[in-house]
Amino acid sequence: MSASASDLRPSFRHEALLYSDQATFLEGTVRFIRDGLAAGEPVLVLETAQNIGLLRSELGQEADQVHFGDMAEVGSNPARIIPAWREFAAQRPGQRLRGIGEPIWNGRRPTELIECQRHEALLNPAFASGVEMWLLCPYDTKGLPPAVIAEARRSHPFIVDGSGSHQSTEYRNPPALFDAALPESPSESPEHGIERSTLTMLRMVVTAAATRAGLEQVRIANIVMAANEVATNSLQHGGGQGTLRLWREDGALIIEIRDGGAFDRLLVDRERPGSDVEASRGLWLANQLCDLVQIRSYPRGTVVRLHMWC
Protein backbone atom coordinates (compact mmCIF):
# COMPACT_ATOMS: atom_id res chain seq x y z
CA MET A 1 0.00 0.00 0.00
CA SER A 2 1.11 3.57 -0.54
CA ALA A 3 2.70 5.63 2.19
CA SER A 4 -0.03 8.25 2.10
CA ALA A 5 -2.79 5.71 2.66
CA SER A 6 -0.72 4.22 5.46
CA ASP A 7 -0.43 7.60 7.16
CA LEU A 8 -4.17 8.04 7.06
CA ARG A 9 -4.98 4.81 8.77
CA PRO A 10 -6.16 4.96 12.34
CA SER A 11 -4.14 3.24 15.05
CA PHE A 12 -6.48 0.26 14.99
CA ARG A 13 -8.08 -0.78 11.74
CA HIS A 14 -10.65 -3.56 11.99
CA GLU A 15 -11.66 -4.90 8.63
CA ALA A 16 -13.86 -7.79 7.51
CA LEU A 17 -12.74 -9.64 4.40
CA LEU A 18 -15.76 -11.16 2.67
CA TYR A 19 -14.52 -14.06 0.57
CA SER A 20 -16.51 -16.55 -1.43
CA ASP A 21 -13.91 -19.16 -2.35
CA GLN A 22 -10.27 -20.17 -1.97
CA ALA A 23 -9.12 -17.76 -4.65
CA THR A 24 -10.74 -14.68 -3.08
CA PHE A 25 -9.55 -15.77 0.37
CA LEU A 26 -5.96 -15.97 -0.82
CA GLU A 27 -6.25 -12.79 -2.88
CA GLY A 28 -7.38 -10.84 0.17
CA THR A 29 -5.02 -12.35 2.71
CA VAL A 30 -1.74 -13.03 0.91
CA ARG A 31 -1.26 -9.48 -0.32
CA PHE A 32 -2.19 -8.18 3.15
CA ILE A 33 0.49 -10.41 4.69
CA ARG A 34 3.13 -9.56 2.06
CA ASP A 35 2.51 -5.81 2.46
CA GLY A 36 2.97 -6.20 6.19
CA LEU A 37 6.19 -8.18 5.87
CA ALA A 38 7.54 -5.68 3.31
CA ALA A 39 6.91 -2.88 5.81
CA GLY A 40 8.66 -4.83 8.55
CA GLU A 41 5.45 -5.34 10.50
CA PRO A 42 5.08 -8.47 12.63
CA VAL A 43 2.14 -10.54 11.35
CA LEU A 44 0.05 -12.98 13.40
CA VAL A 45 -2.44 -15.23 11.63
CA LEU A 46 -5.11 -16.97 13.75
CA GLU A 47 -6.87 -19.21 11.27
CA THR A 48 -8.38 -22.64 10.77
CA ALA A 49 -5.82 -25.40 10.17
CA GLN A 50 -7.06 -25.69 6.60
CA ASN A 51 -6.59 -22.00 5.81
CA ILE A 52 -3.17 -21.99 7.51
CA GLY A 53 -2.20 -24.80 5.12
CA LEU A 54 -3.41 -22.77 2.14
CA LEU A 55 -1.53 -19.67 3.27
CA ARG A 56 1.68 -21.56 3.95
CA SER A 57 1.79 -23.13 0.53
CA GLU A 58 0.91 -19.84 -1.18
CA LEU A 59 3.48 -17.83 0.80
CA GLY A 60 6.27 -20.35 0.40
CA GLN A 61 9.40 -19.33 2.30
CA GLU A 62 7.81 -16.06 3.37
CA ALA A 63 5.57 -18.11 5.68
CA ASP A 64 8.55 -18.52 7.99
CA GLN A 65 8.32 -14.83 8.87
CA VAL A 66 4.63 -15.11 9.82
CA HIS A 67 3.35 -16.17 13.25
CA PHE A 68 0.56 -18.72 12.94
CA GLY A 69 -1.94 -19.94 15.51
CA ASP A 70 -4.77 -22.45 15.16
CA MET A 71 -7.94 -20.48 15.85
CA ALA A 72 -9.75 -23.70 16.79
CA GLU A 73 -7.40 -23.89 19.78
CA VAL A 74 -6.62 -20.27 20.59
CA GLY A 75 -10.22 -19.19 20.05
CA SER A 76 -12.13 -22.32 21.03
CA ASN A 77 -13.58 -20.04 23.70
CA PRO A 78 -13.77 -16.76 21.75
CA ALA A 79 -13.19 -14.72 24.92
CA ARG A 80 -9.55 -15.88 24.78
CA ILE A 81 -8.87 -14.22 21.42
CA ILE A 82 -8.57 -10.58 22.56
CA PRO A 83 -6.02 -11.59 25.23
CA ALA A 84 -4.05 -13.42 22.49
CA TRP A 85 -3.92 -10.28 20.31
CA ARG A 86 -3.01 -8.20 23.34
CA GLU A 87 -0.19 -10.57 24.24
CA PHE A 88 1.13 -10.42 20.67
CA ALA A 89 1.09 -6.61 20.88
CA ALA A 90 2.57 -6.48 24.39
CA GLN A 91 5.57 -8.53 23.24
CA ARG A 92 6.21 -5.99 20.46
CA PRO A 93 5.81 -2.59 22.11
CA GLY A 94 5.74 0.40 19.78
CA GLN A 95 5.61 -1.73 16.62
CA ARG A 96 2.98 -1.46 13.93
CA LEU A 97 1.31 -4.87 13.69
CA ARG A 98 -0.89 -6.87 11.36
CA GLY A 99 -3.23 -9.70 12.13
CA ILE A 100 -5.62 -12.04 10.41
CA GLY A 101 -8.28 -13.61 12.59
CA GLU A 102 -11.13 -15.84 11.46
CA PRO A 103 -13.15 -16.66 14.59
CA ILE A 104 -16.33 -17.80 12.83
CA TRP A 105 -16.56 -20.88 10.68
CA ASN A 106 -19.35 -23.15 9.61
CA GLY A 107 -19.80 -25.63 12.45
CA ARG A 108 -19.59 -23.28 15.43
CA ARG A 109 -22.50 -23.96 17.81
CA PRO A 110 -25.24 -21.29 17.97
CA THR A 111 -24.06 -20.16 21.42
CA GLU A 112 -20.44 -19.99 20.22
CA LEU A 113 -21.54 -17.94 17.23
CA ILE A 114 -23.25 -15.40 19.49
CA GLU A 115 -20.10 -15.05 21.58
CA CYS A 116 -17.87 -14.86 18.49
CA GLN A 117 -19.97 -11.95 17.27
CA ARG A 118 -19.69 -10.34 20.69
CA HIS A 119 -15.92 -10.85 20.48
CA GLU A 120 -15.79 -9.10 17.10
CA ALA A 121 -17.72 -6.12 18.47
CA LEU A 122 -15.52 -5.99 21.59
CA LEU A 123 -12.34 -5.76 19.50
CA ASN A 124 -13.21 -2.14 18.67
CA PRO A 125 -13.21 -0.82 22.26
CA ALA A 126 -10.42 -3.26 23.23
CA PHE A 127 -7.97 -1.65 20.82
CA ALA A 128 -9.48 1.83 20.64
CA SER A 129 -6.19 3.25 21.84
CA GLY A 130 -2.64 2.25 22.52
CA VAL A 131 -2.04 -0.38 19.85
CA GLU A 132 -1.24 0.22 16.21
CA MET A 133 -2.69 -2.83 14.53
CA TRP A 134 -4.46 -3.66 11.31
CA LEU A 135 -6.71 -6.64 11.83
CA LEU A 136 -8.34 -8.44 8.94
CA CYS A 137 -11.18 -10.88 9.72
CA PRO A 138 -12.03 -13.25 6.88
CA TYR A 139 -15.70 -14.30 6.52
CA ASP A 140 -16.72 -17.17 4.25
CA THR A 141 -19.80 -15.80 2.48
CA LYS A 142 -20.60 -19.20 0.93
CA GLY A 143 -20.28 -21.26 4.09
CA LEU A 144 -21.92 -18.86 6.57
CA PRO A 145 -25.58 -17.77 6.78
CA PRO A 146 -26.42 -14.28 5.42
CA ALA A 147 -27.27 -13.09 8.95
CA VAL A 148 -23.67 -13.73 10.03
CA ILE A 149 -22.33 -11.67 7.12
CA ALA A 150 -24.82 -8.90 7.94
CA GLU A 151 -23.54 -8.85 11.53
CA ALA A 152 -19.93 -8.70 10.26
CA ARG A 153 -20.88 -5.51 8.41
CA ARG A 154 -22.15 -4.07 11.70
CA SER A 155 -19.14 -5.06 13.85
CA HIS A 156 -16.38 -4.02 11.41
CA PRO A 157 -15.80 -0.36 10.58
CA PHE A 158 -14.24 -1.44 7.25
CA ILE A 159 -15.24 -4.06 4.71
CA VAL A 160 -13.13 -5.65 1.98
CA ASP A 161 -15.14 -7.29 -0.80
CA GLY A 162 -15.08 -7.61 -4.57
CA SER A 163 -15.16 -3.82 -4.90
CA GLY A 164 -12.14 -3.21 -2.67
CA SER A 165 -11.84 -1.79 0.84
CA HIS A 166 -14.42 0.72 2.04
CA GLN A 167 -16.08 1.95 5.21
CA SER A 168 -19.01 -0.13 6.37
CA THR A 169 -22.17 1.95 6.19
CA GLU A 170 -23.81 -0.44 8.64
CA TYR A 171 -21.10 -0.19 11.30
CA ARG A 172 -22.75 0.17 14.68
CA ASN A 173 -20.84 1.91 17.44
CA PRO A 174 -21.32 1.62 20.31
CA PRO A 175 -22.85 -1.81 19.94
CA ALA A 176 -25.32 -3.43 22.31
CA LEU A 177 -22.85 -5.60 24.14
CA PHE A 178 -24.05 -6.34 27.61
CA ASP A 179 -27.81 -6.32 27.37
CA ALA A 180 -28.35 -8.60 24.37
CA ALA A 181 -30.92 -11.24 25.19
CA LEU A 182 -29.95 -14.82 26.01
CA PRO A 183 -32.06 -17.84 25.01
CA GLU A 184 -34.72 -18.74 27.57
CA SER A 185 -33.54 -21.14 30.25
CA PRO A 186 -35.71 -24.23 30.75
CA SER A 187 -38.36 -23.50 33.36
CA GLU A 188 -38.14 -26.95 34.99
CA SER A 189 -34.52 -26.63 36.14
CA PRO A 190 -34.50 -26.10 39.92
CA GLU A 191 -33.11 -22.94 41.46
CA HIS A 192 -30.39 -23.06 44.15
CA GLY A 193 -29.81 -20.09 46.42
CA ILE A 194 -26.24 -18.82 46.71
CA GLU A 195 -25.20 -17.98 50.26
CA ARG A 196 -21.88 -17.58 51.97
CA SER A 197 -22.37 -20.60 54.20
CA THR A 198 -23.62 -22.97 51.49
CA LEU A 199 -20.93 -22.78 48.81
CA THR A 200 -20.00 -26.36 49.69
CA MET A 201 -23.51 -27.48 48.73
CA LEU A 202 -23.31 -25.52 45.52
CA ARG A 203 -20.06 -27.25 44.56
CA MET A 204 -21.66 -30.63 45.30
CA VAL A 205 -24.60 -29.82 43.01
CA VAL A 206 -22.25 -28.77 40.19
CA THR A 207 -19.95 -31.77 40.74
CA ALA A 208 -22.91 -34.16 40.55
CA ALA A 209 -24.23 -32.58 37.34
CA ALA A 210 -20.78 -32.53 35.72
CA THR A 211 -20.25 -36.17 36.66
CA ARG A 212 -23.64 -37.14 35.22
CA ALA A 213 -22.73 -35.23 32.05
CA GLY A 214 -19.68 -37.48 31.70
CA LEU A 215 -17.01 -34.80 32.02
CA GLU A 216 -13.52 -36.02 32.83
CA GLN A 217 -12.03 -35.31 36.27
CA VAL A 218 -10.00 -32.24 35.33
CA ARG A 219 -12.96 -30.67 33.53
CA ILE A 220 -15.21 -31.38 36.53
CA ALA A 221 -12.68 -29.57 38.75
CA ASN A 222 -12.60 -26.71 36.24
CA ILE A 223 -16.35 -26.15 36.06
CA VAL A 224 -16.67 -26.45 39.86
CA MET A 225 -13.92 -23.86 40.31
CA ALA A 226 -15.51 -21.51 37.77
CA ALA A 227 -19.03 -21.85 39.21
CA ASN A 228 -17.71 -21.25 42.72
CA GLU A 229 -15.90 -18.08 41.60
CA VAL A 230 -18.88 -16.63 39.80
CA ALA A 231 -21.10 -17.45 42.79
CA THR A 232 -18.57 -15.78 45.08
CA ASN A 233 -18.68 -12.72 42.82
CA SER A 234 -22.43 -12.63 43.47
CA LEU A 235 -21.80 -12.67 47.22
CA GLN A 236 -19.11 -9.98 47.04
CA HIS A 237 -20.32 -7.68 44.27
CA GLY A 238 -23.80 -8.80 43.29
CA GLY A 239 -25.83 -7.79 46.28
CA GLY A 240 -24.67 -10.53 48.63
CA GLN A 241 -26.80 -13.28 47.16
CA GLY A 242 -27.65 -14.98 43.92
CA THR A 243 -29.24 -18.01 42.33
CA LEU A 244 -27.78 -20.94 40.45
CA ARG A 245 -29.54 -23.14 37.92
CA LEU A 246 -28.11 -25.78 35.67
CA TRP A 247 -29.29 -27.80 32.72
CA ARG A 248 -28.15 -29.78 29.69
CA GLU A 249 -28.77 -28.44 26.22
CA ASP A 250 -27.42 -29.35 22.76
CA GLY A 251 -24.44 -31.28 24.04
CA ALA A 252 -23.51 -28.77 26.73
CA LEU A 253 -23.78 -28.58 30.50
CA ILE A 254 -24.84 -25.03 31.33
CA ILE A 255 -24.47 -23.44 34.77
CA GLU A 256 -26.33 -20.16 35.10
CA ILE A 257 -25.71 -17.72 37.96
CA ARG A 258 -27.86 -14.63 38.43
CA ASP A 259 -27.53 -11.79 40.89
CA GLY A 260 -28.56 -8.18 41.42
CA GLY A 261 -25.22 -6.62 40.49
CA ALA A 262 -23.99 -4.89 37.34
CA PHE A 263 -20.92 -5.18 35.10
CA ASP A 264 -19.54 -1.80 34.22
CA ARG A 265 -16.33 -2.73 32.37
CA LEU A 266 -16.86 -4.02 28.84
CA LEU A 267 -13.78 -6.24 28.92
CA VAL A 268 -14.28 -7.39 32.51
CA ASP A 269 -13.94 -11.06 31.57
CA ARG A 270 -10.98 -10.82 29.19
CA GLU A 271 -8.45 -8.56 30.88
CA ARG A 272 -5.50 -10.67 31.99
CA PRO A 273 -5.03 -10.09 35.72
CA GLY A 274 -1.87 -8.14 36.46
CA SER A 275 0.36 -8.36 39.48
CA ASP A 276 -2.17 -6.62 41.73
CA VAL A 277 -3.04 -9.31 44.24
CA GLU A 278 -6.39 -7.76 45.11
CA ALA A 279 -7.66 -7.48 41.51
CA SER A 280 -10.67 -9.61 40.66
CA ARG A 281 -9.86 -12.80 38.80
CA GLY A 282 -13.11 -14.78 38.79
CA LEU A 283 -14.44 -14.05 35.31
CA TRP A 284 -11.00 -14.26 33.72
CA LEU A 285 -10.54 -17.65 35.34
CA ALA A 286 -13.99 -18.80 34.17
CA ASN A 287 -12.97 -18.05 30.58
CA GLN A 288 -9.76 -20.04 30.97
CA LEU A 289 -11.50 -23.04 32.55
CA CYS A 290 -14.80 -23.23 30.62
CA ASP A 291 -15.57 -23.96 26.98
CA LEU A 292 -17.77 -20.88 26.70
CA VAL A 293 -18.88 -18.10 29.04
CA GLN A 294 -21.79 -15.76 28.40
CA ILE A 295 -22.06 -12.67 30.58
CA ARG A 296 -24.87 -10.15 30.42
CA SER A 297 -25.86 -7.17 32.52
CA TYR A 298 -29.43 -5.92 32.58
CA PRO A 299 -31.12 -3.21 34.66
CA ARG A 300 -32.43 -5.98 36.93
CA GLY A 301 -29.06 -7.65 37.43
CA THR A 302 -26.43 -9.84 35.81
CA VAL A 303 -26.46 -13.29 34.27
CA VAL A 304 -23.40 -15.50 33.76
CA ARG A 305 -23.69 -18.78 31.90
CA LEU A 306 -20.82 -21.27 32.00
CA HIS A 307 -20.84 -23.89 29.23
CA MET A 308 -18.98 -27.19 29.14
CA TRP A 309 -19.32 -29.39 26.08
CA CYS A 310 -20.28 -32.92 27.06
Binding site: R196, T200, N222, V224, M225, S275, R281, G282, L289
Partner: protein
Amino acid sequence: MRRPYLGDRADAVATVVSGERHNDTVYVDKQLAVKRTTSPNGLTFAGAIDYFNVAAVAQSLTLAVNGGGDLHLDLSRLEFCDVSGIRALVRVAETMNGQGRLLLHGLPVGLQNAMTAVGWSDLPSLVICNGGSQEQ
Protein backbone atom coordinates in the same frame (compact mmCIF):
# COMPACT_ATOMS: atom_id res chain seq x y z
CA MET B 1 -22.43 -10.78 59.57
CA ARG B 2 -21.09 -13.90 61.29
CA ARG B 3 -17.48 -14.61 60.53
CA PRO B 4 -15.36 -17.56 61.61
CA TYR B 5 -12.55 -16.13 63.68
CA LEU B 6 -9.57 -17.77 65.20
CA GLY B 7 -9.11 -18.10 68.91
CA ASP B 8 -12.09 -18.93 71.07
CA ARG B 9 -13.88 -20.79 68.32
CA ALA B 10 -10.94 -23.03 67.39
CA ASP B 11 -10.27 -23.81 71.05
CA ALA B 12 -13.92 -24.56 71.70
CA VAL B 13 -14.27 -26.95 68.79
CA ALA B 14 -11.03 -28.74 69.55
CA THR B 15 -12.20 -29.30 73.09
CA VAL B 16 -15.69 -30.41 72.15
CA VAL B 17 -14.60 -32.74 69.39
CA SER B 18 -11.87 -34.61 71.21
CA GLY B 19 -12.51 -34.05 74.89
CA GLU B 20 -8.83 -33.37 75.29
CA ARG B 21 -6.39 -30.64 74.39
CA HIS B 22 -5.29 -30.55 70.78
CA ASN B 23 -2.61 -27.96 70.73
CA ASP B 24 -1.87 -28.58 67.08
CA THR B 25 -5.34 -27.50 65.93
CA VAL B 26 -5.18 -23.93 64.70
CA TYR B 27 -8.62 -23.64 63.21
CA VAL B 28 -11.58 -25.86 62.48
CA ASP B 29 -15.05 -25.35 61.06
CA LYS B 30 -17.69 -27.45 59.30
CA GLN B 31 -15.59 -27.71 56.12
CA LEU B 32 -11.96 -27.19 57.10
CA ALA B 33 -9.36 -28.22 59.66
CA VAL B 34 -6.01 -26.43 59.96
CA LYS B 35 -3.30 -27.97 62.09
CA ARG B 36 0.19 -26.89 63.01
CA THR B 37 3.20 -29.04 62.17
CA THR B 38 6.60 -28.60 63.74
CA SER B 39 8.80 -30.78 61.59
CA PRO B 40 8.86 -29.17 59.15
CA ASN B 41 7.49 -25.90 60.42
CA GLY B 42 4.12 -25.40 58.81
CA LEU B 43 0.39 -26.07 58.54
CA THR B 44 -1.76 -28.87 57.16
CA PHE B 45 -5.08 -28.08 55.55
CA ALA B 46 -7.85 -30.65 55.21
CA GLY B 47 -11.20 -29.79 53.62
CA ALA B 48 -12.32 -26.73 51.70
CA ILE B 49 -11.29 -23.08 51.64
CA ASP B 50 -13.79 -20.64 50.20
CA TYR B 51 -15.41 -17.27 50.89
CA PHE B 52 -16.94 -18.73 54.06
CA ASN B 53 -13.67 -19.29 55.90
CA VAL B 54 -10.96 -17.49 53.96
CA ALA B 55 -10.62 -14.74 56.59
CA ALA B 56 -9.73 -17.38 59.19
CA VAL B 57 -7.34 -19.08 56.78
CA ALA B 58 -5.58 -15.78 56.13
CA GLN B 59 -5.28 -15.19 59.85
CA SER B 60 -3.90 -18.71 60.43
CA LEU B 61 -1.25 -18.10 57.79
CA THR B 62 -0.31 -14.68 59.16
CA LEU B 63 0.16 -16.09 62.66
CA ALA B 64 2.19 -19.01 61.35
CA VAL B 65 4.69 -16.85 59.43
CA ASN B 66 5.30 -14.60 62.41
CA GLY B 67 7.99 -16.99 63.60
CA GLY B 68 10.06 -16.31 60.47
CA GLY B 69 11.82 -18.81 58.18
CA ASP B 70 10.25 -21.17 55.66
CA LEU B 71 6.64 -22.25 56.10
CA HIS B 72 5.57 -25.62 54.69
CA LEU B 73 1.91 -26.14 53.79
CA ASP B 74 0.61 -29.67 53.33
CA LEU B 75 -2.32 -29.27 50.92
CA SER B 76 -2.67 -32.93 49.96
CA ARG B 77 -5.99 -33.20 51.81
CA LEU B 78 -7.31 -29.87 50.58
CA GLU B 79 -10.39 -30.79 48.57
CA PHE B 80 -11.14 -27.30 47.35
CA CYS B 81 -9.55 -23.86 47.43
CA ASP B 82 -11.06 -20.86 45.67
CA VAL B 83 -9.30 -17.81 44.25
CA SER B 84 -9.62 -15.91 47.52
CA GLY B 85 -7.85 -18.81 49.24
CA ILE B 86 -5.07 -18.75 46.66
CA ARG B 87 -4.92 -14.98 47.14
CA ALA B 88 -4.41 -15.52 50.87
CA LEU B 89 -1.45 -17.80 50.11
CA VAL B 90 0.02 -15.31 47.64
CA ARG B 91 -0.41 -12.42 50.03
CA VAL B 92 1.41 -14.26 52.81
CA ALA B 93 4.17 -15.34 50.40
CA GLU B 94 4.66 -11.70 49.43
CA THR B 95 4.94 -10.57 53.05
CA MET B 96 7.68 -13.17 53.64
CA ASN B 97 9.78 -11.37 51.07
CA GLY B 98 13.39 -12.44 51.59
CA GLN B 99 12.93 -13.85 55.09
CA GLY B 100 11.62 -17.25 54.09
CA ARG B 101 9.53 -19.05 51.53
CA LEU B 102 6.05 -20.50 51.43
CA LEU B 103 6.37 -24.10 50.24
CA LEU B 104 3.22 -25.80 48.94
CA HIS B 105 3.19 -29.59 49.14
CA GLY B 106 0.63 -31.92 47.60
CA LEU B 107 -1.03 -29.16 45.63
CA PRO B 108 -4.14 -30.69 43.97
CA VAL B 109 -4.03 -30.60 40.16
CA GLY B 110 -7.18 -28.49 39.87
CA LEU B 111 -5.73 -25.88 42.20
CA GLN B 112 -2.45 -25.82 40.31
CA ASN B 113 -4.35 -25.24 37.03
CA ALA B 114 -6.22 -22.35 38.60
CA MET B 115 -3.02 -20.79 39.96
CA THR B 116 -1.43 -20.96 36.53
CA ALA B 117 -4.55 -19.53 34.84
CA VAL B 118 -4.62 -16.48 37.09
CA GLY B 119 -0.86 -15.94 36.86
CA TRP B 120 0.08 -16.82 40.42
CA SER B 121 2.28 -19.82 39.81
CA ASP B 122 5.66 -18.11 39.46
CA LEU B 123 6.21 -15.88 42.47
CA PRO B 124 9.75 -16.14 43.85
CA SER B 125 8.63 -16.58 47.46
CA LEU B 126 5.98 -19.19 46.65
CA VAL B 127 7.36 -22.64 45.87
CA ILE B 128 5.23 -25.42 44.44
CA CYS B 129 6.69 -28.76 45.55
CA ASN B 130 5.22 -31.54 43.45
CA GLY B 131 5.16 -35.13 44.56
CA GLY B 132 2.29 -35.20 47.02
CA SER B 133 3.55 -36.00 50.49
CA GLN B 134 5.33 -33.48 52.60
CA GLU B 135 9.09 -33.70 52.71
CA GLN B 136 10.65 -34.07 56.11
